[in-house]
Symmetry: C2
Subunit: 410 residues, 2 copies
């Protein structure tokens, strides 16, 4: 059953060539694994470090089939692809696809995902199907306000999520979401945790839980390991193991959890599952420097059926996202021709990078995106106890925030 593909001479096809595809390609190269990505944006972030890019929509059947023909295994770094096209392309080209497209189908619809979790006895916040404003009012009645209304498909980084305070807002909220949705009880939580789980060929494992700080529903920082009690971390690990059993196919999965201080609101569960991503996850970027194996190398190993690497932590680590903070779109890495001396008038420059680079133990990851947009993920900075000499995670977080805040787009 293991379709192990041993390097060298192995090529991995990835649907999606954003920062996740870029970091997958960066991790694949040392293993002797080449990468071809499929992405609609010409010269996408992964492109400069990949063997090649097929420029096409994520769900373009023909392009997915072309990708399958050129590679030894297929995976994806974005949920906006077509599971059935992936499955068919893999079968026709005779190459494995991981995670299984059926898993993608389950996960890409948030209602289906939550139902699958609930049916497996995995604790989740109470939720209801919401097709229209009447459903939403009924859900508020049953679950109690406030609730979070979520588009069933297509949302990410807070897009497709809409908090609802009362039944009066039902019509507005449905118009905002614009399609089939689900309502979820907004339960108080102590901490957001995240476990990067991994399923290999006949083995599963997970990195120790990290702790996520969101603002405006966008991940800002991850602290690893999480500053939670050992028994909470053990429970998070157990819940993540149960989740992995549900998911078909090899790969790395980002499992976002809530830690509840008041378990009576969640039928006694101290840990509930918020959301699953069938791919490497922003909350696992800390593993590049903070763990012995990175989540990206782990995903490549898993998809190819190679042995998983150890998930051991190297040292306390904080990851902080570098988000676009300008109020309008403008290019930051425009193709300038140095011979005519012209620079596009609205090209922004990044300031504060030198201080970041001068900080011992700070690691820059830049994604090579060409436009700054507000809250767009442009890169991240990782700060490790190794190098800084700061073992205390509160202090490490504070320093990481300072460094992150020092980077500005002028």
């Amino acid at each position: 059953m293991t379709e192990s593909l041993t390097p060298p001479g192995v090529t991995l096809g990835i649907v999606g060539g954003g920062q996740l595809g870029r970091m997958l390609a960066e991790a694949a190269a040392p293993l002797g694994v080449e990468v071809v990505v499929l992405d609609p944006t010409p010269d996408c972030p992964a492109s400069p470090v990949a063997r090649d890019q097929i420029v096409a929509a994520f769900d373009d059947d023909g392009a997915i089939a072309e990708l399958a023909d050129r590679v030894d295994a297929l995976t994806f770094e974005i949920e906006l692809t077509a599971p059935e096209a992936l499955e068919r392309a893999g079968e026709e080209a005779g190459v494995p696809v991981h995670p299984k497209p059926t898993t993608l189908e389950t996960i890409e619809d948030k209602l289906v995902q939550k139902r699958a979790l609930a049916e497996a006895g995995i604790p989740v916040p109470a939720f209801r199907n919401v097709d229209d404003a009447d459903d939403l009012r009924a859900a508020i009645e049953e679950l109690g306000a406030p609730i979070m209304l979520k588009a069933r498909t297509g949302g990410y980084d807070g897009r497709g999520n809409f908090p609802v305070e009362s039944a009066d807002e039902a019509e507005t909220a449905m118009a905002e979401i614009g399609g089939p949705a689900m309502a979820e009880r907004l339960v108080d939580f102590e901490r957001e945790l995240s476990v990067i789980g991994c399923t290999g060929a006949g083995e599963t494992d997970a990195f120790p839980a990290g702790e996520n700080v969101h603002r405006d529903e966008i991940l800002r920082e991850t602290i690893a390991p999480a500053r939670a009690d050992d028994d909470v971390l053990a429970e998070a690990h157990d819940v993540a193991a149960d989740v992995l059993e549900l998911l078909e196919g090899r790969g790395v999965y980002g499992i976002e959890l809530f830690e509840h201080a008041e378990p009576r609101e969640t039928d006694g569960a101290r840990i509930t599952v918020n959301e699953i991503a069938p791919r490497p996850h922003n909350s696992g970027h800390w593993t590049i420097e903070g763990a012995v194996t990175s989540q990206f190398e782990q995903h490549v190993r898993a998809v190819l059926g190679l042995p998983l690497g150890t998930t051991a932590v190297r040292c306390p680590t904080v990851m902080a996202n570098l988000l676009g903070d300008t109020d309008h779109s403008r290019p930051i890495a425009a193709e300038t021709d140095s011979h005519d001396g012209e620079t596009p008038a609205d090209a922004a420059s990044m300031e504060g990078v030198e201080e970041l680079l001068a900080t011992e133990g700070a690691h820059l990851h830049w994604y090579g995106k060409r436009d700054v947009r507000p809250l767009r993920k442009l890169g991240h900075v990782t700060l490790t106890a190794d190098g800084t000499g700061i073992d205390d995670r509160d202090a490490l977080l504070e320093r990481a925030r300072d460094l992150r805040d020092g980077v500005r787009f002028e």
Copy 2:
């Protein structure tokens, strides 16, 4: 004086696209720095992870000028390039070249290099210029046999080096070397050490010395930090600092040293300089996992004039080279068309990689070369105390050798 080039949107041109170019490109990507390489081998090791490759000879003036036109800074990862062409191309395109081509000129001729070191008062084994067999016999008379005869230019990985036991071998040795040479006294040494030094914009630093094991004049393993006494390590660091002062231009330099148990043979010096490489060096590969900053990231930072990263060690680490062990050339990563089912009859496969990947704390680096040749550097494995839990460097070395020996080309 600092020509600092702040990412993002910076492109680095590298003359040479072998494994050093590949690992430079892997390290540049997270910094938001793109790479274009110049290399005569189509699809050279760096090519799949670089933005682009110019296919041309290392010393092709026109191609070097073309490279300079396309990038923001120039460097090289091989000494077989043309210093004057590099200098001219940098001037004409208005881009900095580091290290300085004058440094390359000094280093690429082993006699000129040794003279520069000796003139600066840096301890080196006794040496003599050798233009012909008469010179060689005179050198043996003066220095005493055995001596090492070295081609002044073009040698690497033991090529261009020829040990001479007696004056009777003078004619044979000169024919073997085939050009201007130098003779060097073969002094007993306790250990071969190597310091990766780095010169940034107004700062210099060095990684702690590693310990090198050579066989047949090819590096087999590096143990880091070296298993030498603290005072010896301090002396190695001081000598390396003196060497860095001699070298013009920013970048990482591999400084190979001997540790002498009998300093009376070397005028009292416990450390002498064997050779300098004006680029990242095989003996610094351990820094990728073993140090907070890798020598490759450090070189990119240095060449661009960015702040240097810390040279702090993360944990005891052993690097072992994966060398071609077949007795004839054959392809290992041939371009096979998966649709006709044909595999070239003499394509070799690599065995033993799975055990290596299954070992916690073992890291594979494969260079993507297409032919196995005896003793060719095809990749390396790094074994860290982090992950293995083996802190003892003798035990770490033994385990790394076992893993390396388990990888075979069938």
